[in-house]
Amino acid sequence: MSIYNLPIISQEEAGRRTHKLVLRAPELAGACAPGQFVHVLCGTYHDPLLRRPISVHNADVKEGTITLLYEVKGRGTALLAAKRPGEYANVFGPLGQGFKLPNTCGSPILLLGGGIGSAPLYFLARRISETVGCQTSTFMLGAQNCDSMVCREEFAALGPDIRLATDDGSLGCRGFVTELFAEYLASSESSTPPLVYACGPTPMLKAVALIANKHNLPCQVSLEAKMACGVGACMSCVVRVKDGGGEKYVRCCKEGPVFDAKEVVW
């Protein structure tokens, strides 16, 4: 874990208000695992002040690059999106606990992404196929509409089974990714229960977690929280989790951002 000033190799639009940023980062590319994030400095002086947490969308160890896929939401991401090749991005990481990869390929693997939440699932799917060797992930991706469905082709290239849902039906089914999930469970003939990985807005993750918990499926979710330090020092980013009979706050940046859906108090 170190602080890096990374040269920007490319920055391109990858959908509505969504940018893909490729950074030269040989050390970081080797160090980071799917589900981990980096903490990105977006401004020049003191406004905006804080770094922005962004998941690793891809790490290419051979090329020595990492890719971030992010949506322009507010002031920090707008400044990040204005940076050009030749400039630098100051980041530190890798941070947090990533997704636990399956040990074997026995179970079907479901990757559920909502909106820009799909970003880290690409790296996850690649690592599952490269290191564990499983090729049969099923992607279920949701978005508001066709335009905001990010990197569909990229995902399609990773796995043949890709199912889409949009709020307005402009692409795939009309509805939510949770409906695709429920449908899958209803129609699945597989005897082995699937491993579920989900990332997206909290209401979606909650819905997914409730379904997964009901069916007693192993389910990992990547949560978002407002972060200051990103390293576990400030207690800003807490998530409520179960603690024996009670509950407690743990740090999203340190104990997370990936949590077992059963542990989280939704």
Partner: protein, 310 residues
């Protein structure tokens, strides 16, 4: 390396430090999280997260909100309590050659005194910073720091409970900071530190809700620097015990300004979040400043701002 530099050696209230740059309470945990990034032995001192008698759960999220050149926090002093500090955090910190100051919080006079009592004699602690100023806990705490009588009572009872140097940390949410500093001195404080955060709030216009679950929070970061610098200058003018200055320090120049205003040492808080290496970098930068301006020792710049000719 700055660590071995005599020009920066500082002693405050009997606490020896390699340099006058500490990391501020609540922004550096107990040092462990940042030890991966930086050499924490390059710091003058680590001030721990606020520690209470029993564990405190803290406030619900959202606990922070970004503001122009600043941030609001309402952590609510989540911490595992003094016993966990003694049995887990301090043994780890003792591996390092760096001064450790424990930030103490409580909801009653007795709690403050009891935490101080338990820490008395524990190896690896150089001093106690008494947080009478956190604006984010419903009971007690800030009430102590905005009332002169309560402040005197807390400082007095902590002093009676420990042989360690006692450093009350002042709240900026008062009409007269010099008077508060003075009360601390009179009550036996060995030094004062300031400022804690300014009380503020943030509202999301779109949802018409407060951004912090706690409604109000404490403002820190560069935004508050002019207020902090003014208060440090006023406090330093009012007392003869050392003053530790903080509030928005993010570079060596900022730190020098606080020392010129009368601070014998400084703390770096929010800046750690932006650059984990801020503390060591500021220590080196102060050293450069001393060299460039031909000062023999960092103490020579303390209070050295010239009063304007009016």
């Amino acid at each position: 390396m700055v660590a071995e530099n005599n020009r920066l050696k500082t002693e405050i209230a009997g606490i020896s430090m390699k340099n006058p740059v500490m990391v501020a309470s609540g922004t550096f945990g107990f040092g462990r999280e940042y030890a991966d990034f930086i050499n924490i032995e390059e710091l003058g001192a680590i001030v721990t997260k606020g520690t209470s008698l029993l564990p405190w759960p803290g406030n619900p999220p959202d606990r922070i909100a970004e503001t122009p050149a600043g941030m609001l926090n309402a952590i609510g002093l989540q911490n595992d309590g003094v016993e966990s500090l003694i049995s887990e955090k301090l043994p780890w910190l003792r591996q390092f050659d760096v001064a450790v100051i424990v930030n103490v919080v409580g909801k009653t006079l007795d709690e403050y005194a009891e935490v101080a009592r338990r820490l008395d004699g524990v190896p690896g602690i150089c001093g106690l910073e008494i947080n009478i100023s956190c604006p984010n806990v419903k009971e007690g705490c800030i009430a102590f720091g905005t009332d002169a009588g309560m402040t005197a009572a807390v400082v007095g009872s902590v002093k009676a409970a420990t042989k360690l140097p006692v450093i009350p940390k002042l709240s900026p949410n008062v009409t007269d900071i010099a008077a508060m500093a003075h009360v601390c001195e009179d009550s036996g404080a060995d030094a004062v530190s300031l400022i804690n955060t300014l009380m503020g709030t943030s509202i999301d216009a779109e949802t018409r809700t407060f951004r912090l679950a706690n409604i109000t929070g404490g403002l820190s970061g560069p935004a508050i620097k002019p207020v902090a610098l003014r208060m440090v200058w006023q406090a330093a003018g009012a007392v003869s015990i050392p003053v530790i200055g903080m509030g928005g320090i993010s570079c060596a120049q900022d730190a020098v300004e606080f020392m010129l205003a009368g601070a014998s040492a400084v703390q770096v808080g929010t800046a750690n979040f932006i650059n984990p290496n801020a503390g060591p970098k500021i220590a080196r930068g102060i050293d450069d400043y001393l060299a460039r301006h031909n000062f023999e020792h960092v103490k020579d710049i303390v209070g050295a701002v010239k009063s304007n000719n009016l």
